[in-house]
């Protein structure tokens, strides 16, 4: 397994004070928090930083980690020396906030799995007949899927307490039906698909949060869709009937004469399906033909001759 340089991950020196480490952590946590960050690898970075902080914030774990020596480089092949943690008794610190399920093999080889004192094993499991925990997951779909409904195979990982009393990672795949009309941020509740109950306790529920993949044509706001539609200057000026793509297929749009760029035209009820379906807004963008031939240049010159047009009149010049 690879050695992890927790100081490097947090951008602090090896002799940083506990206060400096805390400040560095707060800063990085804000930067990479998956709810806040727009960085593509935010979640992975957030977990890494959380793991580094878990070790460095706890003077006992930090001292033990420091004892490995300063010569290790991040990514170097690493095996903990035998009896490396002799003389240390890890306690305190705990796993507040951090999710110990996601710590690296490197962390586990040093500090064990799931923390010390078996805090997690007894977590929320006091009653003998306990209802299973609810599980949460995200499901990514395309805008088109929300128009028609779809099915998605969903692979979920969870830890289960094995017969040997240790947590084991289990994977299961569910085939989930995504109904027509779901929207960004909505939850789908799958009854009894969460964690298994204890004893006669019922299983928990699984909550799926719907997220739309970014679409090359449409942007979504609530139930409404927006489409930028390029139009030729003469179409905008004289009016036209245009073919417009929608997730439901192509429709005809009547463009009134004298339309200007940026104008919004509403296709009522062509947004996301619902009892009261959303609308699809077409935003006009005037596209100019290139003046790359003699004929085209002449057409532009004729244009200029025929129209006394000052696009900057409103600037007072």
């Amino acid at each position: 397994m690879e050695f992890k340089d927790y100081y490097q991950l947090m951008g602090v020196k090896r002799d940083a004070t506990q206060d400096e480490i805390k400040r560095a952590y707060r800063k990085l946590a804000r930067k990479y928090h998956p709810d806040v960050s727009k960085e593509p690898d935010a979640e992975a970075r957030f977990k890494e930083v959380g793991e580094a902080y878990e070790v460095l914030k706890d003077p006992e774990k930090r001292t033990a980690y420091d004892q490995l020596g300063a010569n290790w480089k991040a990514g170097q092949d690493f095996h903990p020396p035998p009896d490396w943690d002799q003389g240390f008794e890890f306690h305190g610190g705990g796993f507040t906030g951090a999710d110990a399920d996601h710590f690296s093999d490197f962390f586990e080889s040093l500090f064990g799995r799931g923390g010390f004192g078996g805090a997690r094993a007894g977590h929320a499991r006091r009653e003998f007949y306990a209802r299973g925990e609810d599980a949460h997951a995200k499901v990514l779909i395309d805008v088109e899927d929300a128009y028609r409904g779809t099915t998605r195979p969903l692979t979920l990982r969870h830890t289960e307490l094995g017969a040997d009393g240790r947590p084991h990672l289990k994977e299961r795949t569910l085939n989930v039906s995504i109904p027509k009309g779901v929207r960004q941020g909505q939850h789908i509740r799958l009854a009894k698909q969460g964690g298994a109950g204890i004893g006669k306790g019922a299983a928990g529920d699984l909550y799926l949060e719907v997220e739309f993949r970014p679409h090359p044509l449409y942007s979504v706001e609530g139930k409404d869709l927006y489409l930028n539609l390029p139009v030729a200057p003469w179409e905008a000026a004289l009016g036209a009937t245009l073919k417009v793509p929608t997730p439901d297929g192509t429709v005809d749009l009547k463009l009134p004469p004298g339309s200007s760029g940026g104008r919004k035209l509403r296709l009522r009820g062509r947004g996301l399906p619902a009892k009261e379906p959303g609308d699809l807004y077409v935003v006009l963008q005037i596209a100019l033909p290139k003046a790359d031939s003699e004929a085209a240049k002449k057409a532009y010159a004729d244009f200029e001759q025929a129209l006394a047009f000052n696009p900057r009149a409103h600037l007072g010049i």
């Binding site: 709810d35 959380g50 289990k170 795949t173 699984l206 970014p214």
Partner: protein, 105 residues
């Protein structure tokens, strides 16, 4: 170990605007004790209908807001008021982001 249940197609219930949750349903969905929800109601993170907590009705999107506020508190060391502020700003940012994408495309 891998278990596959591809035989049956699971259909769930969409928690749309027609669905309202009681306090206990919200607690269950967010895996949080009622005291936590009281705090977040106090800060305006979620806004239930009804006066008495026993009659409170929450809109389904409350699950998302409560869970996000709770994570921000846990991970960033902010209090409930700070999480409420961050949540409002994040939603505003999200709206602006969608608009910007539309204008730039």
């Amino acid at each position: 170990m891998k278990t596959t249940d591809m035989m049956s197609l699971l259909a769930g219930e969409v928690l749309d605007e027609d669905i309202e949750l009681s306090l206990s349903e919200l607690c269950r969905a967010c895996q949080l004790p009622a005291e936590r929800i009281f705090e977040l109601v106090e800060e305006g993170v979620v806004d239930p209908l009804g006066r008495d907590p026993r009659q409170w009705r929450f809109q389904a999107f409350s699950i998302r807001r409560v869970r996000c506020a709770h994570r921000l508190e846990q991970d960033l060391g902010v209090n409930a008021a700070g999480a409420a502020l961050a949540l409002d700003l994040l939603e505003e940012l999200e709206r602006l982001h969608v608009r910007l994408q539309r204008l730039e495309s």
